[in-house]
């Protein structure tokens, strides 16, 4: 069992960190060029040049392009209208049709941004080329933004995914193990034998949970080493602080696990309930989707999500180098959470029924 507990999560860390990316690459791109001029060709060449797009086909009509999208052969269709070049020169204005397959909404959003960027860049070059009258009274004013990505300058997704995934592993393993553990004793019957002994509730529970606490800390350690060695994740903040927070955090998870096992009779039930909570916690943790974009009520729920705090703290400490005072709010909330949930768990554990 012990090798399984350690090997599988770490395998997961390596696989997920390489796979769970928000970058959309290899977009299957098709276009309908009704204009067939140098300008329209220049535009499509921009897409060919981009590493994000695989330009597949030049469709002769929009209908054919739509049919191809229906079959899943292409993700994006760009339609260049008739007289694109002529109208652009005459009226300094034109419209392009862009159709995006939005079955995967997140990918569609990213694709839209890419396309807009390429067209905007093309647009600026175009102005230089086409607007040749120098005595224009109104010069086009361009506001240019130069973004600086602090704490993750190259916007390397691994830098912020690895700490998050590490959080998931520590949480999942400790929750499942603790959730199943006491139920297992109920199933086998050993709990009955223990219950007639004079052992105190608190002694029994500490004895049951401490090994999982150690396993959780062990997983964090190995995960951090892998993060450094394989992914070269910056660790700016204090390791000690990370361990301090994690050691309190694991108590929350263990308390939840214990609470679950008090109210279930079989390992199957415990597994099912643990899964339910883990999935809700993960998807609402801000790891994959930003909490800011959730509806108000969902944001309120995330206040009770321990994973959210852990993800925040790990990212803050590892990437930003936050100190003790910076993470104090999260630390206090987690400590309160740990206190309440463990109190409930010990209270609801009954030696008699």
């Amino acid at each position: 069992m012990l090798p399984i507990i350690f090997v599988l999560p770490l395998l997961q860390l390596v696989i997920l960190s390489n796979a769970a990316t928000f970058e959309v690459k290899n977009i299957k791109f098709g276009y309908v060029d009704n204009d067939r001029t140098t300008t329209s060709r220049a535009l499509t060449e921009k897409f060919t040049a981009s590493t994000y797009f695989n330009v597949l086909t030049n469709f002769t009509s929009l209908n054919k392009a739509s049919a191809a999208m229906l079959k899943g052969e292409i993700d994006v269709v760009l339609e260049i209208p008739n007289h694109f070049e002529r109208d652009l020169q005459k009226e300094k204005y034109n419209n392009l049709g862009v159709t995006i397959n939005a079955i995967d909404g997140a990918a569609a959003g990213v694709e839209n941004v890419y396309i807009t960027q390429i067209i905007q860049r093309f647009n600026q070059n175009l102005k230089v080329n086409l607007v040749q009258i120098p005595d224009q009274q109104i010069q086009p004013i361009n506001i240019k933004t130069i973004p600086l990505f602090w704490y993750n300058e190259t916007l390397n997704y691994k830098t912020f995914m690895v700490p998050g995934i590490l959080v998931l592993l520590v949480t999942m393993i400790t929750l499942f193990l603790s959730g199943m553990n006491i139920v297992r004793e109920k199933e086998i019957g050993t709990l009955e034998q223990i219950n007639v002994t004079p052992i105190k509730k608190s002694q029994f529970i500490v004895g049951k949970l401490f090994p999982f606490w150690v396993i959780g800390i062990g997983l964090l350690t190995i995960g951090l080493i892998l993060a450094k060695v394989i992914f070269n994740i910056p660790m700016i903040g204090s390791l000690l602080l990370m361990y301090l927070y994690t050691s309190i955090y694991i108590f929350v998870v263990l308390g939840i696990g214990l609470f679950i096992s008090n109210f279930t009779e079989t390992q199957q039930q415990a597994m099912f309930i643990s899964w339910f909570f883990v999935v809700v916690f993960i998807l609402m943790s801000g790891l994959f989707t930003p909490i800011e974009s959730m509806p108000k009520w969902a944001q309120l729920i995330t206040e009770f999500n321990p994973i959210k705090y852990f993800v925040e703290v790990m990212r803050m400490v590892m990437l930003k180098g936050s100190g003790f005072l910076d993470i104090l709010p999260q630390l206090l909330k987690t400590a309160l959470y740990a206190f309440v949930i463990n109190g409930l768990a010990v209270w609801s554990y009954k030696k008699t029924n």
């Binding site: 019957g189 050993t190 009955e192 034998q193 007639v196 002994t197 004079p198 030696k351 008699t352």
Partner: protein, 300 residues
Amino acid sequence: MSINISNISKSYKKVKALQNISFKVETGELFGLIGPDGAGKTTLFRILTTLLIANKGTAKVAGFDVVSDYKNIRNSVGYMPGKFSLYQDLTIEENLEFFATIFGTTVEENYDLIKDIYMQIEPFKTRRAGKLSGGMKQKLALCCALIHKPKVLFLDEPTTGVDPVSRKEFWEMLKRLQQKNITILVSTPYMDEAALCDRIALIQNGKILEIDTPEAIVKHNPNQIYNVSADNMYKLINSLKTYKHNHSVYPFGEFVHYTDRRTDFNPKALKVYLESQNLSNIHINKTVATIEDTFMELAK
């Protein structure tokens, strides 16, 4: 007085597991709780070992109330559940030490109490409990239940699923423990084991049918029992069951135990009837009632 139960009732939703159970067990007595599966034996054990709280009634074990003084009871009783419930992935030695530690004692301190039993499993002390045979598991469980020198020992169906030789050995061990002044309450579905107890309580459907010594209980049986045998057992039972004067018909080993409703029963009349049913080689003999016969009679 080691165990004093008065008017205990317990029901699970609609099922009445125990109804108004009352009896007393003297210190140093070997008391048997005899009844079929589902009679309420385990429920009563769980109440007495403070694992379950009764709906009604009070019970005292070793002088402590099972509800208000449960902590003291846990220190002074040993409980061996019907299902083997020691840690299967600990060895014999580890299990014993684990339970000794939980009870705040050491194996050495009470070794003389378990010595006779432990010596039999000692050669396998490094083997995991899950890998032991049924009889060895029972011995280990008994050792663990005795390690803190309990005043009262609860054994819930200790011999169910154990081979006849181990069963016999197990009862001999109980007899020896009794001499060390430990009160033993044991439950069993086997009627033949009942005769080995000092006193027994027959229990069925959550009610006590009778409490007395095994000898006295047998004497309470009002009917004369006959051993009937013939060459075709199945046909014999069917024929006896259709005989209009029958009171009870139970197969009992190679015989059928038969009782008649009439006071002036003549075996010869029965033999004539059975012969008319095409049975041959018929033997009808008087026999003494056993606890099983008495239980069947009372449970009717």
